[in-house]
Structure formats: structure tokens, C-alpha cells
């Protein structure tokens, strides 16, 4: 079966403005579609990556002292004893810093005492119950022992050395590539050694919007109260979280007048807040992409309709001299296919150029070519669909039209 592309092409070239406009639209739509979807997929992957933390069942309670009578160690012990006894609570602990909150502490670590000041890594103050309170899994070595947990730092004693630390597997790979980090020694900015006694995996730290949120280490120390307050982390049985939150907020507010409860929030609050921009961006990109596709489809449809209506007489003539209905349908679909192909060709170049520019300016990986192939196929399909109804209408033109004027 011959497609008879030649006459369609020469007819197109004689009257090209409309076709050029449609092709331009398709080119822009392809560039927007491919790159926007690519960005959205990356954002969604970022939001869905494993945090290693039982986010949905963890409650955070922010407290701090109100006056000089406040003793953070004693107050924490009393409060944690209470929290562990509440029905529905699996584990409770006091932690310095809030994972997934996009704000926290970072300090340098190096592998030799004389190593240059390297990158800073996100650190948290943990006790022996903290891993359980977050639901983080220890994959190697051991947890902190109770006697290893240091008392909180004071203003007079703000630089005490730490003998043991637990790190994430990702940080281990960063510090000791290809080796088992367990038992290795690392040094802080004052060149004092700490031994790695355990490895957790996976676990995201506070800076979820940084390139390496999983470069995290944990220090056995009660939360430092003079920089921020003490945060209690409470893990509940699935489904018990909201009830437990109400109970403990009421109880804690009524006990210990020297200690303020700033707020009681689910950990998911911080996760949502940290990913807020990613979510908004994804929704916006998807909406605009859908609109671009919608507007382009309507444009293709309207122009095809117009073309059919201006060529009624010619269609009638073709029908009168023997063209079948499906020849007419095929004519308009091929015409649409030619225009779409031209647009898609330009669109590929535009999409690749945009993708390259984005990879330069936004630290995105280079555009994946599967997206381009998918985008091309999608636009071809959309073009044919949009031209389908006008083509059917063209096929319905009666051969008798050829004998009438207009």
C-alpha cells in the first residue's frame, strides 16, 4: 500500500503557515513535557527514598528550661520514664537535633589526625535508646551502652572529646571507601580520636535537601541545652500516634514548672515541611505540562478542523473521482503525521538543548533518552488523536459537493 506522501507533502509546502505553527507548538510541547516529567520523577524519587526512620509513628516533643532551677538530666529522666510507661509507646529517647528537619548541626571529621579540614557531616546527640526511638536499624557493630552516654555540654565545658561514635554506612563509604568502617578511628577538628563502634543503614540526617543527607554520625551524649533545648522522640505502635500525642502533651504541660513544652509534633510534620518545595514544584510542573499538552491538542484539532472545512470542495472532488472514505481519513492523518514529525524533530533538539542547559545550571543528571522516546511517541499519538475527528468529518463529505459551488 502506497502512502502517497509526495502529494500531501507538496500540498503542505504550498500552504505552510498553519503547519509551521502547529509544528512549533509540538516542538515546544515536547521540550516542556520531556524535561518537566524528568524533573518531576527526580523530585518524586527524592521524596520517596528511604529515610530509615519510622517517620509515621514518631512524635517529637521540644522542651527547654525556663530558669536556673531546671536540671536537664533529671527532668529528662523523669519525662522519659513517664513517656515509656504511656500505653501505645514503643520507645522514647532524648536526642539533640531533629532528623529530616532541614536544620541541625554539622562538624568536620577526618580519617588521620593531621588530615585537612574536610567536609562537615551532620551529627546528632544520641543515647542508648535513640536508635529504637527512631526505628533506625543497626547493621554492624553495637549500640551505645548506657555508661557511655556523656552528660550534656555546658558553657564551661563546650569541647569534651567523644570516645565512640556510630556512623551511617554511607558516611563509612565516604570516609573509608571500600573498607569496613567498624573499629576505625576518626578525628574531630581538634584532632581528638573517636572509634566507630556501630554502623546504621539506612538513615537520613537533618539536611534532606543537601546532596548527601545520609552522611551522618551519632555521638553518645545527652542533648546540649544551652544551644537548643532537649527534644524527646517517642515511637508509638502503628495507629497510636495521634492519641499518644494528646495524652503526653496534656501530661507534660502540667508537670515540672521549670520546664517549658514548646510543641508536640509528629516527625512527619518536619518531613513534609522539608519536602514542601519539592511537592509544590512537582504539582506546578505537572499542571503546566498538562496545560501545554491540552492547549496544543486543541490547537491541532482546531487547525485540522479548519483545513477540512476549507477543503470541502476538493475532498468532494476526490471522492467523486473514486477516493474511498478511508483514503480521505488517511490523507488527513498522514498530513498530521508529517507535521507532527517535523515538530517532534525540532522538539528533540530543543528538549536536548534544554536538558543540557538544565544539567549545567541545576545540577540535574543529563536527560535520560527514554524520556525523549516516550515523549515523541506520546506526541505522535496525541497528534493522531486530535486529527482523528476532523478526518472522520472530512470522510463524511459527500461526493455530490463537488458539483456545487462552495
Amino acid at each position: 500500500m502506497s502512502l502517497n506522501v509526495r502529494p500531501i507533502l507538496s500540498a503542505l509546502l504550498r500552504n505552510r503557515t498553519g503547519a509551521v505553527l502547529v509544528a512549533m507548538q509540538i516542538a515546544l510541547a515536547l521540550a516542556v513535557l520531556v524535561n518537566a516529567l524528568y524533573i518531576v520523577v527526580q523530585r518524586v524519587e527524592k521524596m520517596q527514598r528511604s529515610t530509615g526512620i519510622d517517620v509515621d509513628n514518631v512524635i517529637v516533643v521540644a522542651t527547654s528550661g525556663l530558669n536556673d532551677r531546671y536540671d536537664s538530666v533529671a527532668a529528662t529522666r523523669v519525662d522519659l520514664d513517664y513517656l515509656r510507661g504511656v500505653d501505645g509507646v514503643v520507645a522514647a529517647s532524648a536526642i539533640g537535633g531533629i532528623p529530616l528537619s532541614d536544620g541541625g548541626n554539622a562538624e568536620p571529621l577526618v580519617t588521620t589526625p593531621d588530615g585537612n579540614r574536610a567536609d562537615s557531616y551532620n551529627s546528632f546527640e544520641f543515647d542508648e535508646a535513640a536508635l529504637d526511638a527512631l526505628g533506625v536499624h543497626l547493621v554492624e557493630g553495637r549500640n551505645f551502652r548506657h555508661d557511655e552516654i556523656q552528660p550534656p555540654l555546658t558553657k564551661e565545658d563546650a569541647a569534651r572529646p567523644i570516645a565512640q561514635i556510630i556512623i551511617t554506612r554511607a558516611l563509612g563509604e565516604r570516609l573509608f571507601p571500600g573498607q569496613d568502617p567498624l573499629g576505625k578511628v576518626v578525628y574531630d577538628s581538634l584532632k581528638r580520636p573517636s572509634t566507630i563502634i556501630g554502623v546504621v543503614d539506612p538513615m537520613l540526617g537533618a539536611f534532606v535537601n543537601s546532596p548527601h543527607p545520609d552522611w551522618v554520625y551519632l555521638k553518645p551524649r545527652a542533648p546540649t541545652t544551652f544551644i537548643a533545648g532537649v527534644n524527646y522522640f517517642v515511637r508509638t505502635r502503628p495507629g497510636a500516634r495521634d492519641g499518644v500525642m494528646r495524652v503526653i502533651e496534656e501530661h507534660l504541660n502540667q508537670t515540672n514548672p521549670d520546664r517549658v513544652i514548646h510543641w508536640v509534633r509528629p516527625l512527619s510534620y518536619f518531613k513534609n515541611l522539608s519536602y514542601l518545595w519539592d511537592r509544590a514544584m512537582s504539582i506546578y510542573l505537572l499542571t503546566v505540562t498538562a496545560l501545554v499538552i491540552g492547549v496544543s491538542t486543541l490547537g491541532i484539532f482546531a487547525l485540522a478542523t479548519f483545513n477540512v472545512s476549507t477543503r470541502t470542495k476538493q475532498i468532494g472532488t476526490r471522492r467523486a473521482v473514486g477516493a474511498r472514505r478511508r483514503d480521505i481519513v488517511r490523507y488527513f492523518l498522514i498530513e498530521n503525521g508529517l507535521i507532527t514529525s517535523a515538530g517532534v524533530l525540532v522538539g528533540c533538539a530543543l528538549a536536548l538543548a534544554t536538558g543540557y542547559w538544565l544539567s549545567l545550571h541545576y545540577a540535574l543528571p543529563r536527560l535520560n533518552l527514554y524520556y525523549l522516546v516516550g515523549g515523541v511517541l506520546a506526541l505522535w499519538g496525541i497528534g493522531q488523536l486530535a486529527a482523528w475527528q476532523p478526518a472522520r468529518r472530512a470522510a463524511a463529505v459527500s461526493p455530490a459537493v463537488a458539483t456545487r459551488t462552495v
Binding site: 507548538q25 515546544l28 527547654s64 525556663l66 530558669n67 541541625g104 565545658d157 492547549v295 496544543s296 482546531a302
Partner: protein, 444 residues
């Protein structure tokens, strides 16, 4: 003539209502998306004190590690100063106004017997309020004399005053901050500079603080900033005096310099201090003492982030798709009406008149599109607002204030869209004027 052409335009819309509606919709969508992105962009990158942009300067000095620059961009100094440097530069009499400050959190109550609540607290100097043009509801700032020696005076935000005193004039009354007694010297009116340019720590769109206390009082009572300390020198800090003498940066400093000569003198003063300190072994990095205007400050600190520019790019790509669409549809529509145009030409209408007539049709279309587009944009912005409000993430401030319709920005976007549509209509209008009338008369 204009009225007649407008009438013709509406008659032409009635001839192809579907096509016309599609065009209006395309223009409206393009405008709506553009206005929405521009509004967000404007709100997020705007300089909230533009009228003082050539007078306000952030003061920074590069005291950082000689081997490791503070920023990824090595030419940028740390955004804050050490205590020793800020203290010295604050002694200069060159600036018309000057401020050194840090923020922390504290607990506030109206009396010793009422329970305390946490309150964002800023330790600052007296000029803060006049310099950043902070509006007062009651009372006023403390005087510069109250800075040194520090008097226990406090300024409350309007919201804080509502919580503590039910919104009554509380000037002269006492409040307790971290169990110390302070006298209220003033209450602010609503004030939400966005972005919070004078202190970009902890997020660009943070709310202003709830209470303001004299800087020197905070130092005398060993208050710390609650952001993490930014230090690089491996020095042991065991006490508050150690911290004050360290190379840790934690204080913001701003000066108001009314003219170029005072700016030059201030720069010379900082450079002189720098040279003196360098002789003593500090400031090992190349000289980089900066007086930065608010606009440059926002650019340096990347307040307009990449995503935001990406959104604006996408907004304009979308407008382009809509306008191309419109040109195509206009062309189809005008050529469709070519027979009528042929009659008009045959009856003596000149090409110019035909051109103008069609351009007016485009103008009417674009105005309809713009009106609809504004409505859609308002709906869209309300939807964005709802998205954030539904998440209960910001009560006051944050995106809520961000969503203020910016009339100038919207006017620009509208003018741009109408002009762009008219420009898009030029070709079809010209094209239809060029058609030979005879062809269309023959077959009638």
C-alpha cells in the same frame, strides 16, 4: 471607526464561537500561568526596602580559613561578623545609623506568676527600628543611650503584645524575659518584610522576631545566638569570653550611609581596621571587606533560588505555546472569513483598513483573554495558598504573605500579554489584507 470595528469583531466571534472561545481560553491560560509565576517570583525575590537600596549596607569581612573559603563561591566572605570585629566597627561614627545584632529564643511572660511561653528574640541596637523603618503602634524604640550601659527595655511585636496584654497599650508595663524583668518601651505595628533580608538565617521567609532587647544586655548576660556557631579555627572555646574573642562569626551588622563620600569613608575605616588586625596575625585571606546593598545581598545569598527561575522560564514557555496557538487559530479564522473581507475590499476598504480592522479584532480577543486570565490567576493563586494552608505548615507568615497580589507585577504581566497577543496577531492581520479580493468574489 473604532466602535464599528469592535462591533465587527464581536460579529466575527459569533460566526465561529468555538474557535473564538478557544483563542480567548489559550490567551487566558497563558496569561494566568505567567501572572502566577511572576507573582510568586516577585514576592520571593523582591527587595522589601527598595527605597533605601542605595543607603543600606550589610557589613562583612573575610576572616575565614586561609585554606578553605567560607562559600562555594570563594569570593564571598562569611555573611556574619565575629564579636570583636562587629564591636570595633560599631564604634565608628561615620554611618548615619548602625546596627549589630543576633537572634535567639527566650521565654516570656507578663508576670512572674503567669506561665512563660517561648518567644523569638532579637538582641539589637537602638537604630534597628529607624534604619529598617519598622512601624510602631505604641511608644517607640529605646534610645541609643539605653544601649550602653544597657537598660532592661523591650520592644514587643504587635502579635506578642496581643498575647501578653490583649492588644492594649503596654508601654511602661513590665514583662519577664527568661525570668528577668524588662520595661516595655514600644509595641510594633504589623511588619512582615519578605524576604527577611536583614537576617536570612534559618530560611529566607522567616517571620520577624517577637521581642527586641538591647544588644549589650544580651552580651552582659552571656546570651548565645541559637543558630549553630560558625567557626573554622581549631581553638578551644570553654567560656563565653572565649567565644567573644574567637573567630566564630555570628553577628549581623548593617549601616546606613547617606552618600558616596560616607560610603568611601566607611570602606576606608574597615580597610584600616583590617590592615591593623592582619599585622596581628588575623585575616589571612585576601582583603575582602564588603559594604553590600540589599539587592546585591539578596543575590549573593541566593534568595532567588534556581527552582524559582525555572518556574519563570516554564511560565514563559507556556505563554509562547499559547501565543503560537493563537496565531494559528487567528490565521485560520481570518482566512475563513476571507470571502467577507474580499467583499469589503471590493467595496473600497483599503489594505490598511482591513489590517486595522483585524488588529482590533485581535485586541478585543486579547482583552477578553486578559480579563479571563486574571480571574484564572486569582483562582490559581488561591489554590496555591490553599495547598499551603491545608498543610497547616504556616499559620502566619510564610507563603500566606507571599500570596499578596502584586498590582505592579500584574499590570506588567497583563501589558506584556496584550502586547504579545497583538504582536502575534500582526502576521494574520497583514496576511488577510494581502489576499486578492477577486478570487473570493468569483465563486460567490
Amino acid at each position: 471607526m473604532l466602535a464599528y470595528y469592535t462591533q465587527l469583531a464581536f460579529r466575527s466571534f459569533r460566526r465561529n464561537p468555538g474557535l473564538s472561545a478557544l483563542m480567548v481560553l489559550a490567551i487566558a491560560l497563558g496569561i494566568a500561568v505567567c501572572v502566577m509565576t511572576l507573582t510568586v517570583y516577585h514576592a520571593m525575590s523582591g527587595n522589601p526596602i527598595w527605597w533605601k537600596s542605595e543607603r543600606l549596607y550589610s557589613v562583612t569581612m573575610d576572616n575565614w580559613d586561609p585554606n578553605n573559603p567560607y562559600h562555594e563561591q570563594p569570593n564571598l566572605p562569611p555573611p556574619e561578623l565575629t564579636y570583636q570585629d562587629a564591636r570595633h566597627l560599631f564604634g565608628s561614627t561615620i554611618p548615619q545609623r548602625k546596627v549589630i545584632m543576633f537572634s535567639t529564643s527566650g521565654d516570656i511572660s507578663a508576670a512572674a506568676t503567669t506561665p512563660a511561653r517561648p518567644a523569638r528574640t532579637r538582641f539589637t541596637t537602638a537604630d534597628f527600628f529607624a534604619m529598617f523603618e519598622v512601624p510602631f503602634l505604641y511608644g517607640g524604640a529605646w534610645s541609643a543611650r539605653a544601649d550602653d550601659p544597657p537598660q532592661p527595655l523591650i520592644v514587643l511585636s504587635r502579635e506578642e503584645n496581643e498575647k501578653l496584654f490583649g492588644g492594649l497599650n503596654s508601654v511602661g508595663r513590665t514583662v519577664r524575659w527568661n525570668d528577668h524583668e524588662f520595661r516595655v518601651s514600644g509595641v510594633l505595628d504589623d511588619w512582615f518584610p519578605r524576604p527577611r533580608y536583614y537576617d536570612l538565617n534559618g530560611g529566607h521567609f522567616q517571620e520577624p522576631d517577637s521581642v527586641y532587647l538591647p544588644f549589650a544586655w544580651g552580651i552582659a548576660h552571656e546570651q548565645l545566638n541559637d543558630e549553630e556557631a560558625d567557626c573554622w579555627r581549631p581553638e578551644v572555646i570553654n567560656s563565653y569570653p572565649d567565644y567573644l574573642a574567637s573567630d566564630c562569626v555570628w553577628l549581623q551588622m548593617w549601616v546606613e550611609l547617606p552618600d558616596a563620600s560616607s560610603r568611601a569613608r566607611m570602606q576606608a575605616f574597615i580597610d584600616g581596621y583590617w590592615a591593623e588586625q592582619r599585622k596581628g596575625g588575623r585575616f589571612e585571606r585576601p582583603r575582602n571587606n564588603r559594604l553590600t546593598t540589599v539587592g546585591q545581598w539578596l543575590r549573593d545569598r541566593e534568595v532567588v533560588d534556581n527552582d524559582n527561575r525555572l518556574l519563570v522560564g516554564l511560565g514563559f514557555a507556556f505563554l509562547a505555546v499559547c501565543l503560537i496557538n493563537t496565531v494559528g487559530l487567528l490565521l485560520a479564522k481570518f482566512l475563513n472569513g476571507a470571502a467577507i473581507t474580499g467583499v469589503r475590499r471590493a467595496l473600497g476598504a483599503s489594505r490598511r483598513q482591513v489590517f486595522i480592522q483585524h488588529l482590533i479584532e485581535v485586541g478585543v480577543l486579547s482583552l477578553l483573554g486578559a480579563a479571563l486570565g486574571l480571574g484564572l490567576a486569582a483562582l490559581g493563586l488561591a489554590a496555591i495558598h490553599h495547598l499551603y494552608a491545608a498543610a497547616h505548615l504556616f499559620h502566619r507568615g510564610g507563603y500566606q504573605e507571599l500570596m499578596h497580589f502584586d498590582p505592579i507585577g500584574v499590570a506588567w504581566a497583563l501589558a506584556l500579554a496584550v502586547l504579545a497577543t497583538l504582536a502575534a496577531g500582526l502576521y494574520p492581520a497583514w496576511r488577510v489584507g494581502r489576499l486578492p479580493p477577486a478570487v473570493y468574489l468569483k465563486s460567490q
